[in-house]
């Protein structure tokens, strides 16, 4: 049986993050209650695991590091079909950059037990560094392939995958245990169902804090982050805009004139 871990991040709902802007006066972010959702690419990661579960029989553990409300995201993943959830939450984890996040997640994967594949979305919609997957692999001393768009061979412990690369893709042979980061094109994530939610009632979510993980305080959160944010500043690229006036047709004509003057038409 395959032991799969899917790393999931709880991110602010991107349809509302447009409101999350640096305040020009205080130069900091306002505290807004934007609901958390599953990082979209992580849904594709979970879907990959669920499809393997159907094919070969697998046990899927969801791993999520975040504040307590992130537990809802874990429960949602269980409702989609994962077997078990682990929520890593501790005030000490706050302020973690990709390095500290990957370290914490790697420690949790170790603590959880033997694993064959770790699936991650290739990037989060809010941080978008793309590094947590490869850094987890390094900490666990596992190989990694990023931006996987197709799993061609998945029998046994030597897989063949296709990953996005330059103006096409590369074909990669991968020895398990390994980390795979996935792209949108890998699959179509399934939607939640009522019965899935009911089945999740009996599934377990374990909560681990820093102590439970047995990690030193200097290695997590802001303390464990080699990088941090020093300054927030506003957009400098401001132009003096002319809003075209008049009826629809008049605006069309004016725009065509502008384009013509610019030599476009």
């Amino acid at each position: 049986m395959l032991n799969i871990v899917v790393c999931v991040k709880a991110v602010p709902d991107s349809s509302m993050t447009a409101k999350l802007k640096i305040d020009p006066i205080t130069k900091s972010l306002p505290r807004l209650d934007i609901p958390l959702v599953i990082n979209p690419l992580d849904s594709h990661a979970l879907e990959a695991a669920l499809q393997l579960k159907k094919k070969y029989s697998a046990h899927i553990t969801i791993l999520c590091m975040g504040p307590p409300p992130a537990g809802n995201i874990v429960r949602e993943c269980l409702a989609l079909g994962a077997d078990k959830g682990i929520l890593l939450t501790d005030p000490a984890f706050a302020g973690a950059d990709a390095f500290a996040t990957a370290y914490t997640l790697a420690k949790a994967i170790e603590k959880n037990g033997p694993v064959d594949v770790v699936f991650c979305g290739m990037a989060s919609s809010d941080g978008a560094t793309e590094w947590v997957g490869p850094e987890i692999a390094t900490f666990l001393n596992m190989p990694v392939v990023t931006m996987v768009r197709e799993i061609v061979e998945d029998q046994g412990d030597e897989w063949i995958v296709k990953a996005d690369y330059d103006h096409g893709h590369r074909k990669v042979k991968l020895k398990l245990p390994a980390v795979i980061t996935v792209t949108r094109n890998l699959n179509q994530p399934r939607t939640l169902s009522f019965s899935g939610i009911l089945k999740a009632r009996s599934k377990e979510i374990t909560v681990w804090d820093r102590e439970k993980l047995d990690i030193l305080a200097e290695r997590v959160g802001l303390k464990g982050s080699p990088t941090y944010v020093t300054e927030m500043a506003n957009l400098e690229n401001r132009r003096k805009v002319e809003i075209l006036e008049g009826s629809l047709q008049e605006k069309v004509e004016r725009l065509v004139q502008i384009l013509s003057d610019a030599g476009v038409v």
């Binding site: 949602e76 409702a79 939607t191 939640l192 169902s193 009522f194 939610i197 009911l198």
Partner: protein
């Protein structure tokens, strides 16, 4: 005392319902509006998404999720299509008498098939002689040898043509005080749906008449016991029927509010969005107030229902309030749209038409007041 927040699980139910409505139901709406048809595909979607199984107990193949979950699902579906929410709620209404009053054999025979959508239910009470006056029912039954013969006509029945299993209220030919509900199934000779209605709103939701000409209904199809028909019908309509209307109304109120907010943010007059104008803001505030109040009334009644308590009075209040509020909200939304509010490509025109069908369904507003005054005066 009271916790006014939804649980994590209820939020997930809402997410399922919202995604279902936006992805699976929305594409059908234009056809339903244009042709007053298209319900077969919609019913398939409802069944596949387990929407019909919500109130059916688990041991009979349902999900046993309860009535708060039902209200959440209906609210979300109605936000996209009131017609779809109405269909679904009436399936639920037809199912309820089996859950509350069915024998073990009846439950085993019908409920699992209702849960999968293999069979579809409705309830048939209203007649040309009155819906507000159920005792004035003229559909009669005559006892035979281990069978009953039904004669009569029901009208304004939702799912009249789509439901193959209908709970029909009839009065004893020989005893005008005795009412019985019967399970009348498609295929029984003499039973057929006849006239189809063309409603101004909730288009694509099948409403019509059924006719019974000497329909021979076997004794095992008596639901809830002979003579108990009014209790069966009124209990189901009182909680589940009204509760379903609350779901339809709340979803419509939400849709009206969203349309009003969107339009007023985008529409520029006097150099800025009309959402800056107090007259518009006040209309939106009223819609918001009614929505907040309606939600509390609806979920309070549903919570009581989940606890097994009698909730028909509370649902009468919620039904009255929300269906009236939905009509007001629709008008305000149309008004905010100005001239655009009369143009069919703007959904608010549909909201206005849908809102007027909410009123007389499952009891008119005046009947609600009769019930509520009875409650207050008792």
């Amino acid at each position: 005392m009271i916790d006014f927040t939804f649980t994590e699980e209820q939020e997930l139910f809402r997410k399922v319902a919202r995604e279902f409505a936006e992805i699976k139901i929305a594409p059908h709406v234009p056809i339903m509006e244009e042709t007053n048809r298209g319900w077969d595909e919609v019913i398939k979607e409802l069944a596949e998404a387990e929407m019909i199984a919500i109130t059916i107990p688990e041991e009979y193949g349902g999900l046993g999720m309860g009535y708060i979950a039902r209200l959440i699902a209906l609210e979300e579906i109605a936000r996209v299509s009131v017609a779809t929410a109405m269909m679904n709620q009436i399936f639920g209404l037809g199912i309820e008498p089996f859950i509350k009053f069915g024998t073990e054999e009846q439950k085993k025979k019908y409920l699992p098939k209702f849960a999968t959508g293999e069979r579809l239910a409705t309830i048939a009470v209203t007649e040309p002689s009155g819906g507000s006056d159920p005792k004035g029912c003229r559909t009669k039954y005559k006892k035979g040898n281990g069978t009953y013969f039904l004669n009569g006509r029901k009208c304004f029945i939702t799912n009249s043509h789509t439901a193959d299993t209908q709970v029909v209220l009839a009065v004893d030919e020989d005893n005008p005080e005795a009412f019985t509900t019967f399970v009348v199934e498609k295929g029984l000779e003499g039973f057929k749906p006849t006239h189809e209605e063309h409603k101004m709103g909730m288009r694509g939701c099948n409403t019509g008449e059924i006719e019974m000409k000497n329909v021979s209904v076997p004794a095992e199809n008596v639901l809830g016991g002979e003579g108990k028909g009014l209790k069966v019908a009124m209990t189901a309509i009182g909680d589940v029927g009204r509760g379903g209307m609350v779901g339809c109304a709340l979803g419509l109120q939400q849709a009206c509010l969203e349309a009003a907010v969107k339009f007023s943010n985008e529409r520029i007059l006097y150099g800025k969005s009309i959402s800056n104008l107090q007259a518009i803001q006040f209309k939106i505030a009223e819609m918001k107030i009614d929505l907040e109040a309606g939600r509390l009334l609806g979920y309070r009644a549903a919570a009581m229902q989940d606890k097994g308590e009698r909730s028909s009075n509370e649902f009468a209040v919620a039904k009255y309030y929300t269906t009236e509020a939905a009509q007001k909200a629709a008008k305000m939304a149309v008004d905010i749209h100005g001239g655009y509010g009369c143009m069919e490509e703007f959904p608010v025109t549909r909201y206005l038409r849908d809102s007027y069908v909410l009123g007389p369904s499952a009891g008119t507003s005046d009947i609600m007041k009769v019930i509520i005054s009875r409650w207050a005066l008792s």
